[in-house]
């Protein structure tokens, strides 16, 4: 079984997690830029964070045989702080990088005018840079937030097939399914979505345009819940091919629209002067 976790914040996770994920079959991840618990107060904090997402973190993942890509954006919560808004001007330099496969996470947190504006601006950046977009739906007032998100996506003129709307549930799936956007589900220990509920959704709707992620971060979360969901699918009678479609081929198809998804080994990154140097520190 091969797993592609299309949304996980590895910056907040330990090397033990990488090790356990690799052992359980996770071969590739996408790490969206988001907030870090502690609000940031200057663009410099963001550049160091973004640099890590295209520098140190892919190297760290590579030590465990996991391919790491990123999505880059100013998240909606921090978009509300005027001190962080200049981050928008820094984004073009990141959106041309090889490891960046989408603009994200964008979307709504509290549905403020500042969030309206940054969402629209960043969807336009996705169009300009020929990148897909990863759009988060708000934790509070989710259904209304999803409706408003889809309206902004339509106005932006981005192809629905290049947009992934994430953190969905039984209440919001129909809206997104009808829009033509991809549907993301974040499997969490207590909140958002659980493996048994995810299986029921897949039984009802089928695997088309559905992505499953752990969205593991610095909160209570579990990077192996993608694997648990795959196991629950098999127990419920889904074929190995169905599981592979949801857990690998769907995320590959979505992010490959960037033209930058690189899932084969890059020889020059794994060796230097002909010798393996991915052994890491001691």
């Amino acid at each position: 079984m091969r797993i592609f976790d299309p949304h996980i914040h590895m910056t907040s996770r330990t090397t033990d997690d990488y090790s356990a994920m690799a052992a359980a079959g996770v071969r590739a991840v996408v790490e969206p830029a988001f907030w870090l618990g502690q609000p940031r107060t200057s663009p410099g904090s963001f550049t160091d964070y973004f640099d890590s997402l295209i520098g140190w973190e892919p190297f760290r993942a590579g030590q465990y045989g996991i391919r790491h890509h990123a999505t880059i954006a100013l998240n909606p919560k921090e978009a509300n702080d005027p001190r962080c808004r200049p981050v928008l001007d820094l984004l073009p330099r990141y959106l041309v990088k090889d490891g960046v496969v989408a603009v994200g996470e964008i979307g709504y947190d509290s549905m403020t005018p500042a969030e309206d504006e940054t969402l629209a601006v960043q969807l336009a950046l996705a169009v300009e840079h020929e990148l897909p977009a990863l759009v988060h739906t708000p934790h509070r007032d989710k259904a209304a937030g999803t409706v408003r998100t889809l309206a902004v996506v339509r106005e932006a003129g981005i192809d629905a097939g290049r947009v992934l709307i994430d953190h969905l549930n039984e209440v919001t799936i129909d809206l997104v399914r009808d829009s033509g956007c991809w549907m993301g589900f974040s499997i969490y220990p207590d909140t958002k979505m659980s493996p048994p509920r995810m299986v029921q959704i897949l039984q009802r709707y089928g695997p088309e345009r559905i992505l499953v992620n752990s969205a593991a971060d610095w909160g209570k979360s579990d990077p192996l819940l993608t694997v648990a969901t795959a196991d629950a699918m098999r127990e419920a009678g889904f074929s190995a091919d169905d599981v592979d479609r949801v857990m690998w081929r769907n995320p590959v198809e979505f992010y490959a629209q960037s033209g930058r998804l690189e899932l084969t080994a890059k020889p020059q990154e794994d060796t230097f002067a002909g010798s393996s140097i991915l052994r890491g520190g001691s």
Partner: protein, 196 residues
């Protein structure tokens, strides 16, 4: 490896038209170099470049773009704004440029990272411009990180009594912990410890 070697080898790469065009654009408008430098790997490819040792086509193309401007400020900016592969390409290109000592701070930056590719690349031929104390720390860091010492340019000639003493101390710590020294570090110690 010289820039002419890289240019010759790049002639056989399917993306060479892209590179020719990119060079002209950079000459006409140096402000375009950031975007083109970022694209070079996916346009030119990540495979080894035939006739260019262990250089990849993307790295060689990036070296050519850097040489087109050959400007220390641009080199530093592309390094600092680059992803890991771009930084690696900048470090490899440094000995091929005419920027004197101006890029030595980039070696210090790379040696501060824990990315073995960058640490290794920082100890190539351009490290001849690095002060002895920093260079010794770089070599010892390679031993710690498991980076093979054949990446270090001019290793035997530059190894001095201080480095030999540091290697001896590390060997003693490893022996106390029951852990082996990497074979190449043990060999270096053996070769150099008797020197006056």
């Amino acid at each position: 490896m010289t820039l002419d070697d890289l240019r010759t080898a790049l002639k056989a790469v399917p993306g060479r038209d892209w590179l020719d065009d990119a060079e002209s654009r950079v000459r006409a408008d140096p402000g375009q170099v950031s975007r083109l430098f970022a694209q070079a790997d996916r346009r030119m490819g990540r495979e080894r470049l035939a006739g260019a040792g262990d250089w990849t086509a993307g790295q060689a193309a990036r070296a050519v773009l850097l040489a087109t401007l050959d400007d220390a400020g641009t080199v530093a900016r592309l390094y600092h704004e680059g992803d890991a592969a771009e930084r690696l390409a900048v470090l490899r290109a440094l000995p091929l440029l005419s920027i004197g000592d101006a890029a030595v701070p980039l070696l210090h930056d790379a040696l501060r990272t824990n990315d073995t590719r960058l640490v290794a690349a920082a100890l190539g031929p351009y490290a001849a411009r690095l002060d002895a104390a920093t260079w010794r720390q770089g070599v010892i860091k390679c031993v710690f990180l498991g980076v093979p010492l054949n990446v270090v340019a001019d290793l035997d000639r530059r190894t001095d009594r201080e480095l030999t003493a540091m290697l001896s101390a590390l060997a003693a710590e490893r022996a106390a912990a029951g852990r082996p020294m990497p074979a190449d570090a043990a060999d270096l110690l053996e070769r150099t410890k008797e020197q006056p």
